[in-house]
């Protein structure tokens, strides 16, 4: 048995004990840790990793390449993938343009706070368009609502105030509604809630009168935060006004993006290219945004999928463009990628069992803990980082 870091979502729980029984990981994490492992293959035939690597290199040589995925691999592997993209004049993207990137961008402009500080001192947490129940299942129990420590010794019943603002009554909203110290605001338009905040800050009432109560609660402590989710990102029209609310109310902003190491990818892209963007096309020397994706997906000849399941996570509008492309998949677990009939599949070690670094949703770097003793079923595989190193050195 060994303690590892679960890479099931951006919470990166570092207390998971892995052995014949897996302790403390949520269902989502457990599914990842015990998922069916991928196998090396070329043209659908099982092979060893070195033949697969050689075939992969042959596939990508001389082709217009798109590298896609990367949200589930370490920063070190992301850096090598960017190097590969640069060497091959390829385009490289993750999921951030589709969802989550905007939240991470916002968090860079707004005051933020680490999850540990929020755990020790946080009082009001506002889940805005976020339902961590599905996406980051342990967020409330590990950091934001239930822990008793630091200045919050009396626990959630007396010491924390939970607000959920959402278009539907999510599971997290149900908890807020049930709680004596919480409330659920069913919103229709995110901008109307922003407006209510601005009005309440000026002593006036807006569409949502509950906001006045929230601001009163906010005054009771120094650390209060909005956890912005995909609902906020897709619903909000006027981001400037939202930023205005955040600054005037003194609330911290924490992006509740669930993709494990999306934050790491965006930081690595920024470091390598000098641009704050959601992906990069090295051939054109240009940043990639949401509007560029259909063309990028359509124009490439070969696709290298790294740590992703595009048929499951991409909208059909994009995933349909992968049909007929030559695909190289570097994945740890079996996935729907098989439906794309990849020319080469390279089985890599699950990031949770590898060494390396990932960036948690709040921007804190987390060191992964390499699994010392692989079970028989885990087999001997190279990490994503090692696979990419090999490909680069060929």
């Amino acid at each position: 048995m060994q303690e590892i870091v679960c890479t099931g979502c951006s919470c990166l729980c570092d207390d998971v004990v892995y052995g014949d029984t897996v302790y403390h990981a949520c269902r989502k994490g457990y599914r990842l840790l015990t998922g069916k492992k991928e196998e090396n293959s070329v043209n659908g035939e099982k092979t060893d990793v070195y033949r697969a690597l050689k075939a992969a290199r042959d596939v990508i040589d001389g082709k217009k390449l798109l590298i896609f995925g990367l949200d589930n691999v370490t920063c070190e592997a992301q850096e090598l993938a960017l190097k590969l993209a640069k060497d091959f004049n390829a385009a490289i993207v993750d999921h951030s343009a589709l969802s989550g990137g905007k939240l991470l961008e916002l968090s860079e402009r707004l005051d933020s706070v680490s999850l540990e500080k929020f755990r020790d001192e946080g009082y009001v947490s506002i889940y805005w368009g976020a339902n961590p129940h599905n996406s980051i299942p342990r967020l409330l129990s590990r950091f934001t609502y239930y822990p008793r420590c630091g200045k919050r010794q009396r626990g959630y019943e007396e010491d924390r105030f939970l607000v959920v603002a959402d278009v539907r009554k999510s599971e997290t909203a149900k908890l807020a509604e049930k709680s004596k110290t919480g409330l659920f605001i069913r919103i229709e338009k995110d901008d109307e809630l922003v407006d209510s905040f601005l009005k309440a800050l000026n002593g006036r009432a807006g569409k949502y009168p509950e906001v006045a109560r929230i601001l009163k609660e906010v005054e009771k402590a120094e650390v209060n935060a909005v956890f912005g989710g995909s609902g906020l990102c897709s619903g909000l029209k006027d981001f400037d006004k939202f930023e205005d609310v955040m600054k005037k109310s003194g609330l911290y902003f924490i992006p509740a993006t669930s993709k494990t190491n999306m934050r790491g990818f965006l930081e690595t892209v920024a470091e390598v290219t000098g641009c704050r963007c959601y992906g990069y096309d090295f051939e054109r020397g240009a940043c990639l945004n949401l509007k560029d994706l259909p063309e990028v997906f359509a124009c490439c000849e070969a696709v290298m999928v790294i740590g992703a399941d595009p048929l499951r996570t991409l909208p059909h509008e994009l995933s349909k463009r992968l049909a007929g492309k030559v695909v190289v998949a570097i994945n740890s677990l079996k996935s729907l990628v098989r439906l794309l009939k990849p020319k080469v599949t390279i089985a890599s070690t699950l990031s949770a069992f590898s060494s390396g670094t990932m960036v948690r949703l709040d921007g804190v770097k987390v060191e992964l803990k390499e699994l010392k003793e692989m079970k028989e079923s885990e087999g001997k595989t190279l990490s994503d980082e090692e696979v990419l190193k090999e490909l680069l050195s060929m």
Partner: protein, 155 residues
């Protein structure tokens, strides 16, 4: 679950001491923790308090039932979020640097623990709903987002 104050309001409030407690309020508390029974309050059984007594008996029906209750987890509904593990007052007291702080529980034989992605009942004897000083604790159930926890009397 009635609160001690709700019980107290229906008691004679004379602090006569016949029940062995100094005040009616402390008697109300002991009713909730099941250390005392309504029958020990003699004045309550006089005609003057008949209405109150009936109300109290109705209120306490749920407390009586709980004597045979057990905590049941529907693993199919559980997502392993650990809200129940971290919020349980027994865990908070006995594992202050792990479970209470949101980390994986380290105390040996806790009441609940997340194993293979779902909550498992490990040592039910520690639950506050059991034993001499039992209370009708519902903390874990109230904080379960999927209604995976229930108590036998509700099923």
């Amino acid at each position: 679950m009635p609160s001690p104050m709700e019980i107290y309001k229906l008691l004679p409030k004379t602090n006569c001491g016949e029940c062995g407690e100094k005040t009616c309020m402390s008697f109300a508390f002991k009713i909730i923790s099941r250390e005392k029974k309504l029958e020990e309050c003699k004045p309550l059984f006089s005609p003057k308090f008949e209405k109150n007594r009936k109300k109290l008996e109705e209120m306490l029906e749920i407390v009586k039932k709980a004597e045979e209750t057990g905590l049941v987890v529907n693993e199919e509904l559980c997502i392993g979020c650990a809200n129940c593990v971290v919020s349980c007052p027994v865990h908070v007291e006995k594992d202050p640097y792990n479970a209470a702080m949101g980390r994986g529980i380290k105390m040996e034989n806790p009441i609940l623990r997340i194993e293979n992605g779902v909550v498992k009942v490990v040592e039910l004897n520690l639950c506050r709903r059991y034993g001499k000083n039992r209370t009708l604790c519902i903390v874990c159930r109230e904080n379960c987002p999927t209604d995976a926890i229930s108590f036998v009397e509700e099923m």
